[in-house]
Amino acid sequence: MLAVNFYAAADGLNSVHTSNGIFVVAAGSQGNILFSNSSGSTWNKTTSGTVNFKSVFTLGTAVWYTSSAGKVYTSTTAINDITERTTGVNTSVNSIHFTSALNGFLCGDNGVVMKSDEELRGRLLLPNFNSEFKFNFF
């Protein structure tokens, strides 16, 4: 188990999520990812470069991350297999939400709202709108 400390002024966590109350994952600046397999009783820490993670979402054994540079990253709950995905946007992706393993949405700056169909290529832009988005589904 690793202690969770302040590391530097630039460090910090921007998002936390759980879908079952047991596996919990948090992500933030400087590529920091914290995860727990014990409902938050103990935590592990890893990093993924210097990515500024804006949002994290987990469902089943999958984890999705978004970044300020328009990227989406995926991994399993083992968090040792983080893979970069291309979204086609360069601006910040602020939020991500999946309703099933293959059905998800993300949104971000400049009115970007995308659906996970066709590997995130189904880009939707809300009309006459330029904003930073965050969202949630039910």
Binding site: F6, G12, V16, N103, L124, F129, F135
Partner: protein, 153 residues
Amino acid sequence: MNGVTVGDNGKVFVTANGGALWTAETVNTTRDLLSAKYFPDGIGVAGEWGVVLFKPSGSTWEMPDMRINSDITGIDGDSFNDIHVCGGGGFIRNNINGNTEFLNFEKNPMLADLTDMVRFSGLGFAVSSKNNAVIRTTNGGTSWELPSGNCIL
């Protein structure tokens, strides 16, 4: 599938068909909105300057007076009777037991700006952009703790 997305200048869009069509909602604020939650019984959104807005299913938008100017960055909970919000300064508040002004304050050990929060039954987790600690509640927010192994230096 219902969804809600929020953005700058009080923008709120909702979908009732899994994102195929998004419809603008008119709300009584031009503040930047930072977080949204689609509850089983309606929509809740939160934003800068203490803005919280609710729209019960089949009803109109309501805007409680939160009596703060801090940004509200996280909103979560099980239903409109169990909404929890967090934000700048490290507060966590809820509307349990009909407290419509969210004057139930959840005691937590991390007085740093909270950026996000997630809840699952009685469990809850919250984080701050100021540090790498995760605080947790195991009793629905009655108390929050830094789990063993966490420390703030």
